[in-house]
């Protein structure tokens, strides 16, 4: 068990060395929840492969269990093969490293579509960091627009904020009418 842990650690280090920090993430990987899901999937995959090895005593390509498109895309984008133990460890290390990536919390009034989130993620990864993650929240009181919170700053692009900003003018108009 200890030897396996060491092996995983070494493999992770090797994977981290193999995965360059400048590589971009697939558009389908958007937020920390996806990263967590990918980590769990890789671990599950590792477990499955280990069990298959024990049963069939062989780790061939044909024995690889089904993996999600997201995991496949991430592995492909990093040039890693899920069939190889070292690559899987490298992918695991990469995913753990991604958990430390800058995360932008973005809040909408309604649930955005996957495409919208991909477009926004693309913008942050193009202009900010290539591994930027988006944590999506919902707040119906925003009405429209969104609320963007980075590590230290808050950018309110919501309709609620616009109403508050223009409240004095609105009140003045109402008072003039009254």
């Amino acid at each position: 068990m200890v030897s396996r842990a060491k092996k995983v650690t070494e493999s992770s280090k090797a994977g981290q060395a193999k995965v360059s920090s400048g590589d971009s993430l697939p558009e389908s990987v958007i937020g920390p929840a996806h990263i967590m899901r990918l980590i769990r999937e890789v671990e599950s995959l590792e477990e499955s492969i280990t069990q298959l090895k024990l049963v069939k005593n062989a780790a061939t390509a044909t024995d690889l269990p089904h993996v999600s498109k997201m995991l496949g895309a991430v592995a492909e984008s990093k040039g890693l093969s899920l069939k190889k133990y070292a690559d899987r460890q490298a992918l695991t290390g990469f995913l753990h490293k991604l958990q430390q990536s800058p995360t932008v919390n973005i809040t909408f009034a309604t649930q955005p579509t996957e495409q919208t989130l991909r477009s926004l993620t693309q913008w942050f990864r193009t202009h900010g960091d290539s591994h930027t993650l988006l944590a999506v929240n919902l707040q119906p009181s925003l009405l429209a627009g969104c609320l963007v919170r980075t590590q230290n700053k808050l950018f309110d692009f919501s309709a609620q904020q616009k109403i508050v900003e223009k409240r004095s003018g609105l009140v003045a108009q109402i008072k003039e009418t009254l």
């Binding site: 990536s101 800058p102 932008v104 909408f108 009034a109 309604t110 955005p112 579509t113 495409q115 919208t116 477009s119 926004l120 913008w123 942050f124 202009h127 900010g128 960091d129 930027t132 119906p140 009181s141 009405l143 429209a144 627009g145 969104c146 963007v148 980075t150 590590q151 230290n152 700053k153 950018f155 692009f157 309709a159 609620q160 109403i163 508050v164 409240r167 004095s168 609105l170 009140v171 109402i174 008072k175």
Partner: protein
């Protein structure tokens, strides 16, 4: 002797008595005749006297009646004059008294009316002053209350207008404005704040 005397005396007494009775009877008859004659004569005189007296009495009565009537008339006239004079004087006196009393009463009434009028005017003036003061106080209180309510409403409006409008817009729009519809606007705003966003992201890295 003595007996003969007695007899004699007796006879004498009887004879005397008879004689006296006869005399008395004669006297009585004479008297009656005389009386009857005198009565007859007297009756004749009495009738004439009575007739005379009746005429006189009648005349006297008439005269006395006339005199009495005249006297009564005179007295009545005098009494009438007196009564009339007295009545006129009494009427005049009553008029004067009544006029005097009326004047006094009217004067008193005027005085009382003037006093009552003055008291009423004073009461009205005081009531008006009190009413004006109270009205002023009420006006001030109402104005203050209205101003306070306006201020409260204005402040409340200032505070709540954004929430009200937001609630109204959210109910009107509901899910009609989706993030997809807003994507271009969101990207434009991100571009507008790109420098600050990118700086903060890269600082986190």
């Amino acid at each position: 002797m003595w007996v003969n005397n007695w007899y004699f005396m007796e006879w004498l007494l009887v004879g005397a008595m008879i004689l006296s009775s006869i005399f008395a009877a004669v006297l009585l008859v004479l008297h009656i005749v005389t009386t009857m004659r005198s009565k007859k004569h007297a009756n004749k005189n009495t009738v004439s006297e009575q007739q005379f007296t009746r005429r006189q009495q009648t005349e006297a009565r008439q005269q006395s009646q006339e005199a009495l009537q005249l006297a009564i008339k005179d007295n009545v006239a005098v009494l009438q004059r007196d009564v009339q004079a007295m009545s006129e004087k009494l009427t005049e006196h009553m008029k004067q008294e009544v006029s005097k009393t009326l004047r006094e009463e009217i004067a008193l009434y005027k005085k009382s009316a003037t006093e009552v009028k003055a008291a009423a005017l004073e009461a009205i003036r005081e009531s008006t002053e009190v009413f004006q003061k109270q009205q002023g106080a009420i006006d001030t209180a109402i104005a203050d209350s209205v101003a306070e309510e306006k201020k409260r409403l204005s402040e409340n409006l200032d505070e709540k207008i954004a929430d009200i409008l937001q609630h109204y817009v959210s109910q009107v729009l509901e899910d009609q404005i989706t993030p997809e519809d807003q994507l271009g606007e969101i990207l434009a705003q991100l571009d507008q704040h790109k420098a600050a966003i990118v700086e903060d992201i890269q600082r986190g890295v």
